[in-house]
Amino acid sequence: MAHPNSIEAQQLVRVFKKGLRAVDGIDLHVEPGEVYGFLGPNGAGKSTTVLMLTTLLPPTSGTARVGGYDVVHEGPKVRAAIGAALQEAALDPLLTGRDHLRLQTMLQGVPRHERRSRADELLDRVGLAEAADRKVKGYSGGMKRRLDLALALVHRPSILFLDEPTTGLDPQSRKALWAEVARLAHEDGVTVFLTTQYLEEADVLADRVGIIDHGRIVAEGTPAALKAEIGRPTVEAEPADPADRERIAGALDVFGERVSRSPRSVSVRLRDGASGLADVVRALDAASLPVENLTLHAPSLDDVFLAKTGRSLEGAAEEDETEA
């Protein structure tokens, strides 16, 4: 029996017309009260997964239970248990923030005498009390996202789905949203399923991260465990003269395996860890190979993505956009 706040999926698949397998057999287990970061580039299958888990898209095969209910056969019960802010903040530009909350409280069946106080409470919580009576068309991107979050919380859901909640936001708005999501999880015990293409977001917010690429989960664990799995830092050398790139690559190959980070530079995951950096500097100097920049990268989630897929997350996003 699944826990009321948990999310579980087994071999979830979604195939679109023309045979595109957007989600290709993923397994998920998200614990109650956990913040689960679903990390991947554009087109990896994140949003399709969210649509299936929120009952808006039937899976082609596989099963999923959200809040203890089957997403295919118990859709209304799933929807009653969850709140969701989907990829685009779908708001009506002609309505005010308060109008949106009034509509949402009515549709979610909030008792009449509680509607106003609930709307005020949420507006206050997301910092929109002063802008509540302004039309949404005058809101900034960050304000729209915060209103979107408030709307998802109207009926006090125990599970929250956030699909790329901070895409396009300035750093200040992003951090404000992170703080609210963290508060929801840690103070209110809400289970949060968060998709993102930002490494920092997953690193800061998520208790566990699932990395998805081409519809499959390629790695899963806590950010610390995933990075520890990679273990060793990477040294990146940017040649002063681009013509020296291959010679630099040859000089660095003896220190570890080559990884692809940027077409202009050469990156090697150091076999002996950070202590190998001094040897790298000596080797470049001995070969008279001047470098513009020499950077030591601690293992990051991007390194995890790189190790699991052979591409960097940023590069993968560009690649997928080109394919599209």
């Binding site: 685009e88 109008d99 009515m106 039309k135």
Partner: protein, 256 residues
């Protein structure tokens, strides 16, 4: 719960329209302008033998009621298409909102606006000196008829929006609906149309019966046949269009 949902959606529909002057002023102004132009330019038609009234204004006053309803089609359809395009419909899909409540609320808003348009045209007619032969009760029947016509055309626009998900497709429907209006008994009683194909087309065109129903209340009084045909056509349109829209909504709301 369902009543609350219908009310919430209808309130939103009305608020949206009221906050977009471009969506409610043209349905009032353009038909009134056309009425003024036609009643001036075609006034001599009242001299034709068999023309049912000596006031072309009274004859033509039926047209804005139907034109206004055509604008309702556009408003209901484009609003719903926008909701689909922006993802707002997905937001609504995540609530316990019933499909029937969404449709009823949307169309409820259209009907309310249809009532406002009807009140406006009745006032325009009274101000211009038109004598409503069916009296106050006739005006009440006119409001009821306008509700059914707005419901039918609003549902037609909603159906198109739900099928296509495109506001542009709805806009493309508008000229077609106007062709129906112009190839009708809009400017001349059918029995006085001399061109055979035009008379046949106007007779086959259901819009003619909508116009003649309204017209009968204004210039004749109580004409059972015109009322039966008008209410029959409007009712049939409403039933078919609401049915189609309901099926299309079920397909569009693909939630499990």
């Amino acid at each position: 719960m369902v009543a609350t949902q219908v009310g919430a959606i209808a309130m939103r529909s009305i608020a949206r329209t009221v906050r977009q002057p471009a969506s409610f002023i043209p349905p009032l102004v353009f038909p009134t302008m056309l009425l003024a132009v036609n009643s001036g330019g075609l006034a001599s038609a009242t001299g034709l033998e068999g023309f049912p009234t000596d006031s072309f204004l009274a004859f033509a006053l039926a047209v804005p009621f139907i034109q206004g309803a055509l604008f309702s089609t556009m408003n209901a359809g484009t609003d719903l298409a926008r909701d689909i395009q922006t993802g707002f419909l997905s937001r609504l899909s995540l609530t316990p909102l019933r499909g029937s409540a969404l449709l009823a609320g949307t169309l409820g808003g259209v009907v309310v606006l249809g009532q406002v348009q009807t009140a406006f045209y009745v006032l325009v007619g009274l101000a211009a000196g038109v004598d409503f032969h069916a009296g106050l009760l006739g005006i009440a029947v006119l409001f009821a008829f306008a509700s059914i016509v707005s419901l039918g055309f609003g549902a037609l626009g909603s159906f198109m929006a739900l099928r296509t998900g495109s506001g542009e497709a709805i806009q493309g429907l508008f000229p077609l609906l106007f062709v129906f209006l112009f190839i009708s008994s809009m400017n001349m009683p059918r029995d006085l149309i001399e061109i055979d194909w035009f008379r046949a087309a106007a007779t086959a065109n259901p819009v003619s019966y909508l116009l003649e129903c309204v017209r009968s209340l204004i210039i004749t009084g109580w004409d059972g046949e015109a009322l039966a045909l008008g209410f029959g056509v409007a009712g049939a349109l409403a039933v078919v269009a609401v049915g189609l829209a309901a099926v299309a909504l079920k397909e569009r709301l693909a939630r499990t």
